[in-house]
């Protein structure tokens, strides 16, 4: 039986799936060129392993399928490596990513290798089945399945963003004595009058209002809030250096309403940009909580309509 064609198609489309999931945006992560090389190499290996399985099983070599298990062990390493490298870099970040965000990123990188492998597996399987009708059918079936799998995975793997679970609104920066206060929430004690002046003159702030009790529980997670502070500082820039820790943005939650507030002294002082930056922050998979699903919450409390809104 001719197996080269399905394997080649599977490997190619599996690698393509991995490449398409390697998007480099403002975060510059994974980095180019070394980060890309690492992930494309692993993605190619994953695709090759996935592509080999169906022909191996079709020709009666069941042992070859156990290589998939081996691959899974290898890709668990990917997660460890990503986590370690991000944790090692953490001390050099002015605003930390936080362990929850790092864990989320590491998880995504492991999952993407499996997606490459699955795409290759489906493609190769279609190719093997199509072989019964000739090489042209095999190639066509493999290509169609592979592209379908890529489109499906792209859709399934895009997670929620803060804008999906909360409303973000710009609000003024205020001081209650020395306490930096945004929308009624005390964020921190800023002792130096000079720093207070800088906050009032150059700072902007926003309030993140959860849409329901589930969103509120997610926003209560410190890792999720740290991710917001990190991403916003990255997108808007930060007018601070390491010896001015009072300008480190901190996201605090109102104990009653669950609203999260954030004040920042950015390089780009633009309230609309701040709102869009916050809305664009990913909801970390590990911080998602759904207390309302338990059925314990009365509907009006679940919708947060009972809590004191301004």
């Amino acid at each position: 039986m001719e197996v080269a064609l399905p394997v080649a198609m599977g490997t190619a489309l599996g690698s393509l799936a991995r490449l398409l999931l390697l998007r480099r945006d403002y975060r510059q992560f994974p980095s180019y060129p070394q980060g890309y090389t690492i992930h494309m190499s692993l993605g190619f290996i994953a695709a090759a392993l996935g592509a080999i399985a169906p022909p191996a099983i079709a020709t009666g070599d069941l042992a070859a399928a156990s290589f998939l298990a081996l691959a899974a062990t290898q890709f668990r390493e990917v997660r460890t490596v990503e986590r370690e490298s991000l944790l090692n870099m953490e001390g050099t970040e002015l605003v930390r990513r936080g362990t929850a965000y790092i864990e989320g990123i590491a998880r995504v990188f492991e999952a993407r290798n499996y997606l490459g492998m699955l795409t290759a597996l489906a493609t190769s399987l279609a190719g093997v089945i199509g072989m019964a009708y000739g090489a042209a059918w095999s190639t066509g079936a493999a290509a169609a399945t592979g592209l379908g799998a890529i489109l499906l995975l792209q859709g399934l793997m895009s997670g929620q963003r803060i804008g999906d679970i909360a409303l973000v609104k710009p609000v003024p920066v205020e001081f209650d004595g020395p306490l930096l206060t945004v929308a009624g929430v005390n964020i921190m004690n800023v002792g130096s009058p000079d720093a207070r002046r800088r906050y009032l003159e150059e700072g902007i702030a926003c309030v993140i209002r959860p849409k329901d009790a589930n969103a509120r529980a997610t926003l209560a997670n410190l890792g999720q809030r740290q991710a917001i502070a990190h991403e916003v500082s990255l997108l808007l820039g930060l007018k601070m250096d390491v010896d001015e820790p009072e300008f480190t943005p901190i996201a605090r939650q109102h104990p009653v309403t669950g609203e999260v507030v954030l004040a920042i002294v950015p390089l780009l002082k633009d309230q609309a940009a701040l709102v869009r930056a916050v809305e664009y922050v990913p909801v970390l998979e590990g911080t998602v909580r759904k207390p309302v699903r338990s059925g314990l919450w009365p509907p009006e409390l679940a919708a947060l309509s009972g809590v004191g809104r301004r």
Binding site: G177, M188, N189, G191, P193, A195, D243, P245
Partner: protein, 62 residues
């Protein structure tokens, strides 16, 4: 908050009821001197200035 534990590094105060404690205390003659000393200390120690509103500023490492 870096490691979850904050530490008072120094106190700058204009109050005259200063008691010696576990941290260095700097006496300032007036508000201006207190702010200046607090700012310089914060820069040196990489700490944050917090106002206790009783005449004392504390420099804290978070």
């Amino acid at each position: 908050m870096r490691d979850g534990e904050s530490r008072i590094l120094a106190v700058v105060t204009i109050g005259d009821n200063v008691v010696a404690g576990g941290v260095p205390v700097f006496r300032a003659a007036d508000d201006d001197e207190r702010e200046q000393v607090a700012r310089l200390l914060a820069k040196i120690l990489r700490g944050t200035v917090h106002d206790l509103q009783n005449g004392a500023y504390v420099i804290v490492r978070h």
